[in-house]
Symmetry: C2
Amino acid sequence: MGASLKEIAERVGISAASVSIYLNNPDTNRVSAGTKDKIDKAAEELNYRRNLFASSLSRHVSKVIGIIIPTNIPLFQNVYTNMLLSGVQKCLAGEGYSLLFFPSSASTSKENVREQLRHSAGCDGYILFSTGFCPMDHILLNIRELQDTGKPFATLNVPKVPETINQVIIDDLESVRGLEFLLNAGHKKILMVLGRQHGEHMQLILSKYRLMLKEWGIPLDNDLVIFGNYSHEDTYLKVSRFLTSRRDITAICCMSDLMASSALAAVKSTGMTVPGDISIIGRNNSLYAVLADPPLTTIDLSISEAGFKAAQLLLDSLENPSISRNIILNGKLIERSSVNEN
Amino acid sequence: MGASLKEIAERVGISAASVSIYLNNPDTNRVSAGTKDKIDKAAEELNYRRNLFASSLSRHVSKVIGIIIPTNIPLFQNVYTNMLLSGVQKCLAGEGYSLLFFPSSASTSKENVREQLRHSAGCDGYILFSTGFCPMDHILLNIRELQDTGKPFATLNVPKVPETINQVIIDDLESVRGLEFLLNAGHKKILMVLGRQHGEHMQLILSKYRLMLKEWGIPLDNDLVIFGNYSHEDTYLKVSRFLTSRRDITAICCMSDLMASSALAAVKSTGMTVPGDISIIGRNNSLYAVLADPPLTTIDLSISEAGFKAAQLLLDSLENPSISRNIILNGKLIERSSVNEN
DNA sequence: TTGTAAGCGTTATCAG
DNA sequence: CTGATAACGCTTACAA
């Protein structure tokens, strides 16, 4: 348990340096074949495993990427974030990198990022996730914080900022692509089911939404915008409540497939049909949209691809810290069976 | 960028030791109030962040837990694993621990575990996840591998093994609880939709299944067992194909809600109704079951709770390495609207 | 209240 | 082919 290079070296009767060099490069000709065998045997018997921390300290390289998620709510619960993470991990693991998730316990995104970074020196780089509900000033502070580490990093799904950094952005336009589709299908009274009201993302989407209504000459009706927290319960409740007082809408445009599925359930529970009475459109092209009955028309945002690309940007930056690129991903409308012409 | 304690010390004009001690314990009376201010200022200006690797090396404690998942397929894609992870992270983050995910690229679970552990020395402990498709001999080897690290660890959702280790097990009985429910409702021709055929988990479930049929005096019909890979496409295809040749079943018992949702879609596509013509039962009590139409009767396995408990076991072991406990979690049947009496 | 020095396990340099 | 030795950044006696 926890045998060190030194112990192996002692047992074999050589120096720790030789053991290290051989173990890290079995083809080395520094060590004779016989010695190699002895080292292998000793390493096996003593259950040698390289100490990540000692090795990283010495090499000035850790092959560890810090994942910075500006929140302290439990991770791995959100489909969207999981898909982003999956892409990141796929790319990074392919290149032999480990992923490190830090704990934090603050109440603001700003503090959480600070806390997660506080003891993180030694990581080769970072990926900063957006939680979607950071206001812009926090986002800028978070990025500043990352810059201060002096290590390469990439931001993922963080609203576009003027700084020259590695960014993968899911185009804001895509957020209202669903709305556009509904408008083109002739819908005019459309209920918008959005995310958390005060995040920068939602502010952007909201302004696009207003702009688009204006272009189409449709008067603004603030009752037709529902903010939520992306959960099923919340969405089901709010849409249900909405439908008790108003039945004049012909379509619902949701910011996630999950929320669209919840809206679908709420509509069905009133006895109305989809897409007969009400059309519904989702976003993400997740399994929820595929499994819904009827299957939901949605926007494929290539989420896990976004994660993969952010990791690639980071890797490039690791090789050449001076480069920094922006990638903007476009969504693709996936037409299924939840939208009718109006 | 990357300022060290020494640099701070130099700037303030004191020793690195004082800086270290103060930064790790702001209440120390080793350092005068004035010096504290200077250290704070210098740390701020130089963007000091503690080097995790140096610190861990020195302390012999890293506050990092290695997550060992015996596969090299992309992580964070599987709802079940994500829920387990979520529970683990929630508990561990609460105690200030970071999570480390290692890369691996082998073709067997055995090799993947070896690879993930190879450079992992320095972690305070590990959590071993089951992927559900390891055969028993691999499982035992994996556990042996963990034991050889000499560090505390807990296994999560790994079939029960005789070794005295920290284990959180989701009771095998629960796997066939759904079947039992269907039998009690009078169903006799029941299609079983299982996971990967060669994993230890499935072998256990299979034998329970056979036993139960025997108890109920129902003849074994091997065509009524479908193995799959837990994906929607696969399940939809196999259930659809099954239904083209046979319509005599009255119920489907699935090993996951996702597969149950896929089966539901397949059944509906034939024109049959659920639960009118065919009853369906799922497993996990995930959102898929809630959102399905009709909502699916399912088994709540407290998955994220299992993850949380495994982390607790590990934490206890960290305090007192000599203890080791088994926790067996029971499932709970959640009755919704996808099962009729037959 | 502070400094000095040894040590954590590994790697890299240099000399042989 | 191999061994010393210094260094990585931080922590912790111990000494003052």
